[in-house]
């Protein structure tokens, strides 16, 4: 069993959990993920590791409650345990040798962007973070990003906090002004990563997207995490999750992510009803 040592609500729908997982904590590096199940009959949920404490043997994950599975996970309290946790899976983000980088995070993707920014900062890189949210209430990890960035730009779609607009505007501006990054890391919704890739493409700056497709096993066995990169089929769980954003077929990936939308809606409905019953 994997105990929840700490549970924090970062905003209305985003939860951070620190879990006991010594085997994973010993090995985990920035960019890797775990797969966990809240209960014995639960769905397997892939989540990127947000923080690792090898000494205490813990890993932290940050997730948004969006579907039935994350709802079940989010309902767990501090001190309780979850049924399963396996990892670290996937390859760590390649950060060696980079001097000047931009880390772009969108929404809950910021939780995954942060460890990358942090790792780069620790290696002495000059880090520009651009983090975007829909609105002020949803802003998370602002302080944490500032602590590891030379420059930090915050955007909200509605302008309630930081710059108004999405993350591509300030990125484009910096590039236009002549900023040259060794690499740009994009972590967030597929459509955001797609536009980050389009923004950097004319400048031929190496751009890395962290892909988060539907997964089951996370070990290369089911193939449901497959995506097309440069015309080739790749399994995100074993070949990624980081890929060259200029080569990823984002439109296809967006389509694949919607494979089970109808089911998800039903499951959410069912779960909400269950919760309602419990409350009554």
């Amino acid at each position: 069993m994997y105990r929840i040592l700490k549970r924090e609500q970062l905003n209305e729908t985003v939860v951070r959990m620190e879990l006991e997982a010594p085997l994973v904590a010993r090995k985990a590096l920035a960019g890797q993920f775990v797969i966990l199940r809240a209960d014995a009959r639960g769905e397997r949920i892939p989540l990127t590791i947000a923080q690792t404490d090898a000494k205490r043997g813990t890993v932290a994950v940050i997730f948004q409650v969006v579907g039935a599975a994350t709802m079940a996970l989010g309902a767990k309290r501090e001190g309780e345990a979850i049924a399963d946790l396996v990892g670290p899976l996937g390859n760590p983000t390649e950060v060696e040798g980079l001097k000047k980088v931009a880390v772009i995070g969108g929404g809950v993707g910021c939780a995954i962007a942060l460890p990358v920014a942090k790792r780069l900062f620790e290696l002495g890189a000059d880090v520009t973070s651009i983090v975007g949210f829909r609105t002020a209430e949803l802003v998370i990890l602002e302080r944490e990003f500032r602590a590891v960035s030379r420059r930090m730009i915050l955007t909200t779609d509605d302008g309630t906090c930081g710059e108004k607009g999405n993350v591509c505007a300030p990125l484009g501006r910096l590039l236009k002004e002549g900023e040259r990054f060794d690499a740009v890391f994009a972590v967030g919704p597929l459509v955001m990563m797609k536009y980050v890739a389009e923004t950097t493409r004319p400048y031929q700056i190496k751009t890395v997207a962290s892909m988060n497709p539907i997964m089951i096993d996370g070990t290369g066995m089911c193939g449901c995490c497959r995506i097309t990169v440069g015309g080739e089929m790749k399994f995100a769980c074993v070949d990624g999750p980081d890929f060259d954003a200029h080569l990823v077929d984002f439109d296809e990936a967006m389509g694949r992510l919607r494979t089970y939308t109808a089911f998800e809606a039903q499951a959410r409905e069912r779960n909400c009803n269950l919760f309602r019953k419990e409350v009554k």
Partner: protein
């Protein structure tokens, strides 16, 4: 002179009616009762050729166990099978008997062969029902790690534990059993049977660690080093699904059989309130002709789809177990032989709408000795479908190879190992699909047993 039963036909096993079973996941074949088993066992004339045993990949002493069944000594019969087979309840159900023991049976020359598979299953189920637990052997103080809990790993672990080794199995998924739990469906191999096999190992003192991916969570080097295991057995199977490399393969509604089956079998997507989604296929096309293709087709059928199996060779070459093909047909599955997909058709939103195929004909024999299918010019045709399941076989998982320095791996990912499973690294053994590429449960089990012997010899030689 014992009273042999000379009827030419074997005792049939009762099966669930096709019209009923095509909408449930309960076991299809229902088994013999004592009387039928005894009568069927008497059909064995104890001939001196013992060709059945020679046809068995692990050499089960079939005439001996059959004669014990004929005498009603079921537990004794079990003991005979157990000497050579670690998973009789499983093998009785999933072995391709028609090409192995039963294919060689003397009674089969004139009439039907003895129902050896049915009787193996009967004896094993009878043993399980009796609830007899094995005695836990005294520990010899030596530790062995087994990676993977499929047929190879389970049989290797069982044999080592019986010899007194302290065995720990590492399994990547949250449940032990490997392909027996994620691949083979409930209606062919009830999961309760797999669970009991795993529990039997636990009774022998085997430790099972789930959620541990060797190659990621731990490495082979660490197992041999800081964890203090004296030998490691790699039974990691062949889990990497193959695709066809044709347009449309990443459309919504295209799945590897591994994904489709894992959702159904491991994640129980067929249960009413399952947490795991399954694609609501109306018309499914399954590509392939092996057992996995049959399993996927029959699962899709049970989930409510009209199913067509597309296979590039002819019916005679179908590699699937014959009984599964018969059952699939009875359940209303349509077969399109000598056909091969060339493109998956989609609508503007990336949903599957059909499969474009070509007809094939059989040409010259290829390296495997089977006639190679070649496309017929101008024979393109389309099948309507909203779901395509690829059951084209699997390659060994590359994780271990990539993370274990010094382990020699063949070009397609198979781990290089000798007869006893010795790999290129000292103390590291391997067997099953990880070494051979996708094969059968019985072969993997046999490899696990041979490796157990080799590991025992290896550790004993180090001791002295």
């Amino acid at each position: 002179m014992p009273n042999f039963n000379m009827t030419e036909k074997r005792h049939t096993m009762s099966v669930q009616d096709p019209s009923e079973r095509r909408s449930n996941f309960r076991e299809v074949v229902l088994g013999y009762d004592d009387e039928a088993a005894i009568s069927e066992a008497k059909r064995c004339i104890q001939c001196k050729t013992r060709s059945c045993t020679r046809g068995c990949p692990v050499g089960v002493k079939i005439p001996e166990f059959l004669s014990l069944v004929a005498e009603g000594k079921f537990e004794e019969a079990y003991k005979v099978i157990e000497q050579d087979s670690a998973l009789p309840a499983v093998c009785g159900r999933v072995c391709p008997q028609e090409t192995q023991c039963e294919g060689k049976c003397t009674r089969g020359i004139k009439g039907e062969p003895v129902g050896i598979g049915y009787l193996e299953r009967f004896v094993a189920d009878r043993h399980m029902a009796s609830g007899r637990a094995e005695e836990r052997p005294r520990s010899n103080g030596h530790k062995v790690a087994v990676v993977g809990s499929g047929p190879a790993g389970l049989s290797c672990a069982g044999d080592l534990a019986k010899r007194g080794y302290e065995v720990t199995i590492f399994e990547a998924l949250h449940l032990a059993g490997g392909v027996l739990v994620y691949g083979i469906p409930e209606f062919r191999l009830p999961k309760a049977i797999v669970r009991r096999e795993v529990e039997a190992l636990a009774d022998l003192g085997v430790r099972i660690v789930t959620n541990a991916v060797v190659g990621k969570s731990l490495t082979v080097g660490e197992l041999l080093g800081e964890y203090g295991f004296e030998a490691v057995f790699l039974g990691t199977g062949a889990g990497l699904p193959r695709f066809m490399n044709i347009p449309g393969e990443n459309a919504k509604g295209v799945f590897s059989a591994n994904e489709y089956l894992t959702r159904i079998n491991l994640m129980k997507a067929y249960e009413e309130d399952a947490a795991t989604p399954i694609f609501p296929a109306r018309r499914a096309v399954v590509v392939g002709g092996g057992n996995v293709a049959m399993d996927a087709a029959r699962c899709a059928r049970r989930m409510g789809a009209e199913v067509t199996v597309v296979y590039r060779r002819s019916e005679a070459e179908l590699p699937a177990r014959r009984e599964e093909v018969v059952h699939a047909r009875e359940e209303g599955i349509i077969f399109r032989f000598l056909a091969n997909p060339t493109e998956i058709l989609t609508d503007g939103e990336g949903n599957v709408t059909g499969v474009k195929c070509v007809e094939m004909e059989l040409g010259e024999p290829d390296a495997s000795g089977r006639r190679r299918p070649v496309p017929k010019a101008g024979s393109a045709f389309e099948l309507e479908a909203d779901c395509v399941i690829m059951a084209l076989g699997t390659s060994p998982n590359p994780l271990i190879g990539r993370s274990t320095a010094g382990l020699t791996v063949k070009p397609h990912g198979e781990i290089f190992a000798d007869e006893g499973g010795q790999t290129s690294l000292e103390g590291v053994f391997a067997g099953g699909d990880a070494v051979t590429g996708s094969a059968t449960v019985i072969l993997a089990m046999g490899a696990g047993k041979r490796a157990a012997e080799a590991i025992d010899a290896y550790i004993s030689s180090r001791r002295s």
